[in-house]
Amino acid sequence: MSYAETHEHHHDDHDHKPTGLGRWLFSTNHKDIGTMYLVFALIMFFIGGAMAMVVRAELFQPGMQYVDPQFFNAMTTMHALVMIFGVIMPAGVGLANWMVPMMIGAPDMALPRMNNMSFWILPFAFTMLLATFFMEGGAPAGGWTMYPPLITQLGDGFPFLIFTVHFLGVSSIMGAINIIATIFNMRAPGMGFMQLPLFVWTWIITAFLLIASMPVLAGAVTMLLTDKYFGTSFFIAAGGGDPVMFQHIFWCFGHPEVYILILPAFGIVSQIIPTFSRKPLFGYESMVYATAAIAFLSFFVWAHHMFTVGMPLAGELFFMYATMSIAVPTGVKVFNWIATMWRGAMTFETPMLFALSFVILFSIGGFSGLMLGITPADFQYHDTYFVVAHFHYVLVTGALFALMAGAYFWLPKWTGHMYDEKLGQLHFWLSVISVNVLFFPQHFLGLAGMPRRIPDYAVQFTEWNMISSVGGFVFGISQLLFVWVIVKCVREGKKADEQVWEGARGLEWTLPSPPPFHTFTIPPKVDEATAHS
């Protein structure tokens, strides 16, 4: 039974939406809030990107050309904070807001007012963070990891950094509670947990990771605050404290955090590859179990971020083995994606191109991740550009590319227009080539001995840095094309039908494009055709 048949008679009653500024400020509608999250992430993407451009410009050649080293450190620190907390996380939540209720046949999120609040905290939090640039002592420059004692040398910006982290934590936890409450309570009749689309599954697991890990970060930064202003010595060696303890606590949050960033990306790719292969996802159950296994293991590997602090042999061995074991479920996922393509009937529209490049480039990031997990080798790799290359492969060509794939995949559903396929593919090719020019040479730099977080370097690193910077500038400019494609798609384009993509399966594709303001006010019936794609 299609959506139109069940909803025809009362369609009009529910499609009046508030207008003007109030529509957005006081919104309790999952679609509007999803849009706000996504637009916010896009704006922050360009702010964080501008900071990366400063970094790449200064590193274009040896010598200090443009900025003071302190400001350079602020650029790398703020770039990371903005990209992680302001781009990848909100974009993931934005997609969840838009898609989860439509995928499980719910009328909206379970807690719509809380949904409003978890979004509106973000602009205030980031205003506060970015305001530190204008304060005595400047913006945070001790790295996004905020290691003491260095971070406590920050000036007036320090408490603003701490409270920003608290705000972001509150926002994320509320968002996570909302997603869990929605999926657990509002699934359409007939949709059991093992019928959920994989994107929904990855978000359940991500939400639990958020609830478990964000309070750990909040605790760690609160201890920093009291160390600086209230005379405690949690992390001050001279007062009997332990600076390494902060790193343990931070990464106990930090490692689950990297899976918070990547699991929704796995979900998106698991929706897209079956669609454009015109074939069901291979190994649905093993995908769910692998995701859960990755999330579970993520709590026991944190110290691989800090092998060089000097741990006992037994500790180093444990964290090395645990880290290596994550390669197993991750491998299962990659094999399942490839098996999904196998003997399918593939086409290569922009979402599929981004998803395929995700599989390859994320795997390259996975290989370097495995290398970094081997403790003895990490004693060489640690804190070099090899690490920078690794986490940009998993976060840019991994998480970000999957988010872009998702944006292209669902844009026709959201706007009712097809995006410009030619421009979309141009954006893809420019991005995928330049991003490799940008990050691949950084493997070489790191292996050859260039430490990370330095504004100036010895002359033997010049060539690869120049190449990397050129790749960076092209990648940065290419993203303006992404904005243009989105704007164009919102305003005009070929009318999209319900189905949008030939191989698309799932409840969201039974709704009109664009979907009405309120959807599934009567629960849809889930059958074989609409169950997980």
Binding site: D68, Q153, I338
Partner: protein
């Protein structure tokens, strides 16, 4: 379209393989150096082993994927199969990675046990990280010294210095006082820090170790070839993190003992003069030297500091205020800022002269002198 795609990815794979063909690529610095110690060679071999395994896996996995991309496309008129399970295959591709990982873990465990075997050393060097220089202390011989970025590099690395780094020999990798060690001797390095966390890294030794306030970490090396080996601080430690290099000179044992003997004599000389009265000119001259080694990175040559980050000394309430406050600040630092307690780093003459210099330079003209004995009284 997909031919282009293939090209891009093959480009990446080929560059990965090229990485393995070192001789042809060595001059561009593509790979980890093999190093000059048993540990560094061990780690290098492990690195290459994992790298080759990853390459093989990549070729197989991506090969299957591209085969599929070529053959199983709608434009070739294929009809999609609808299978979505195959238990045997799924068990196989879970089991094989496990076996590969275990095979990797065995040599890795052996390496790690070797790396942690720090006992039976013949020479112990304590390395202390400071913002932004290293201090080396030879425990048995009882002498020590600071090692800072060489002046030529330091001049060239200033913002818009106009000096071409390519003209400077070993730009950013040269120091005033290199750390000298004998070859074929088991050296134990103990790393710690005085202010924030640093990390001591010479790639040729095969490892880096964080130097952390309140902690002492141990590592070891037996250097098998004479030579000069360079490295850098690897843990972000503030503004001048990039500007505290490490230069390690490995020399023959005879040469090492000559050098160590000279250093022990110099250590005795360093405190000479601490018990006499110093003239203004002497204090100013010594003070300028001390200032340009220890203070200039933050407070700058002109004493103006860096607005928003480091306080100026010109007309400041401390440098132009009561002498007591000035001495206290220099000796004990300012908690929660980058101003370190220099009482631990500098001797009485150095502290007395640098305070005198600061009170009588750049327009500060208090005219007062600080004598080394005044500093000694406060210790």
């Amino acid at each position: 379209m997909s031919a282009g795609y293939l090209k891009t990815v093959w480009g990446a794979v080929i560059s990965l393989l090229a990485l393995a063909l070192q001789p042809a690529w060595a001059e561009y610095g593509l790979n980890m150096p093999e190093g000059v110690t048993p540990l560094s060679r061990n780690i290098y071999d492990l690195h290459m082993l994992i790298f080759y395994i990853c390459c093989v896996i990549a070729v197989v996995v991506f090969g299957v994927m591209f085969w599929s991309i070529f053959r199983h496309r709608k434009s070739r008129g294929v009809k999609a199969a609808q299978f979505h399970h195959h238990t045997t295959v799924e068990i196989i591709w879970t089991a094989i990675p496990m076996i590969i990982l275990i095979l990797m873990a065995i040599p890795a465990t052996k390496s790690l046990i070797l790396i942690e075997s720090t006992g039976d050393s013949d020479l112990t060097i304590k390395i202390t990280g400071y913002q932004w220089r290293w201090h080396y202390e030879y425990i048995e011989e009882d002498f020590g010294f600071f090692s800072s970025l060489a002046p030529e590099s330091n001049e060239a690395r200033q913002l818009k210095s106009g000096i071409d780094p390519n003209e400077i020999e070993n730009y950013l990798l040269e120091v005033d006082n290199p750390v000298v060690v004998p070859v074929n001797t088991k050296i134990r390095f103990m790393t710690t820090a005085a202010d924030v966390i640093h990390s001591w890294w010479v790639p040729a030794l095969g490892w880096k170790r964080d130097s952390i306030p309140g902690f002492i970490n141990e590592s070891w090396a037996i250097i098998e070839e004479e030579g000069t080996y360079r490295g850098q601080c690897a843990e972000l430690c503030g503004r001048d993190h990039a500007f505290m290099p490490i230069v390690l000179k490995a020399v023959s044992e005879d040469e090492y003992y000559d050098w160590a003997g000279d250093m022990m004599v110099a250590a005795l000389d360093a405190d000479v003069g601490a018990d006499r009265e110093w003239a203004m000119e002497e204090l100013m001259e010594r003070g300028e030297q001390v200032y340009s080694t220890f203070c200039v990175a933050c407070h700058q040559v002109n004493g103006m500091g860096i607005p928003g980050a480091f306080k100026p000394l010109v007309g400041s309430p401390i440098t132009t205020g009561p002498l007591d406050g000035h001495i206290d600040t220099v000796m004990n630092g300012v908690a929660g800022t980058a101003m370190a307690p220099f009482g631990m780093q500098l001797n009485d003459v150095d502290i007395a002269s640098v305070i005198t210099y600061e009170r009588n330079s750049w327009g500060n003209d208090l005219g007062d002198m600080v004598q080394p004995s005044m500093i000694a009284d406060r210790r």
